[in-house]
């Protein structure tokens, strides 16, 4: 599996991750706790923990300590890189389909 395919698999391996991507891309300045983020997509903090962790590992999201709370936010620079990698992957698929 290529790096881009791994990225796609990580980004879209569950509906929760899809919801998180949509939420943070629509609200790129959003900073909230895991429970707050979960509420925004109609879920519980516990149910999104694993997905948040994997998106943080990929670098699209990052965690930050603010006072006594830990918050989640979009890493815009890394997000751009990741989406660019996905776009390049599609371009290469298109090229190989044409040839």
């Amino acid at each position: 599996m290529s790096e881009a395919q791994q990225i796609i698999a990580t980004l879209l391996s569950s509906e929760v991750r899809g919801d998180l991507l949509v939420l943070f891309h629509r609200n790129s300045g959003l900073v909230d706790t895991i429970d707050g983020v979960a509420r925004r997509i109609g879920r519980t903090g516990f149910s999104i923990e694993n997905d948040v962790r994997d998106l943080v590992k990929l670098g699209v999201l990052k965690m930050k300590k603010i006072g006594s709370s830990e918050v989640i936010l979009l890493d815009r620079a890394r997000d751009r890189e990741v989406l660019e990698a996905v776009a390049n992957h599609i371009k290469s698929v298109n090229r190989s389909e044409r040839s």
């Binding site: 698999a9 879209l12 569950s14 509906e15």
Partner: protein, 138 residues
Amino acid sequence: MAIRVSLVVETSSPSIARSPTYEMRPQSLIRESAKLADEKAFASLLTDSIRESIEDSLGKNVLALLVSKGLLDDPENPRELERQLNSTFGNASSVLERIIMKGLYQKLRIPFDSNLSFDYAKTLEVARNVHLVESRRK
């Protein structure tokens, strides 16, 4: 769907044959054209949902590439959309299909239950029926 409308010309000559469409009543014409407008409105909502869902999850560039590949050429054909997404994203395509339907359901104010088993074509059909019923009520 094409609607054939014949021009109604009053004539006393029995030698002029009337086409079957000549008899179409204005009421049924109005119904047909309202139905067409509803279907067009639904197609537009669906296209918007596909665009927004792809852009909001994977960005503008990915959307532009998929559109150039023909993603929106036949948006109302669920099998074609599934095929296109699957050829590009493999198993991840099912999450994109869910995101698209969730967006469409939000636009139509239909609750979307993520716990139910998901079938893109069936979910799309439910949305279409709800839209048509709601439109007729208005």
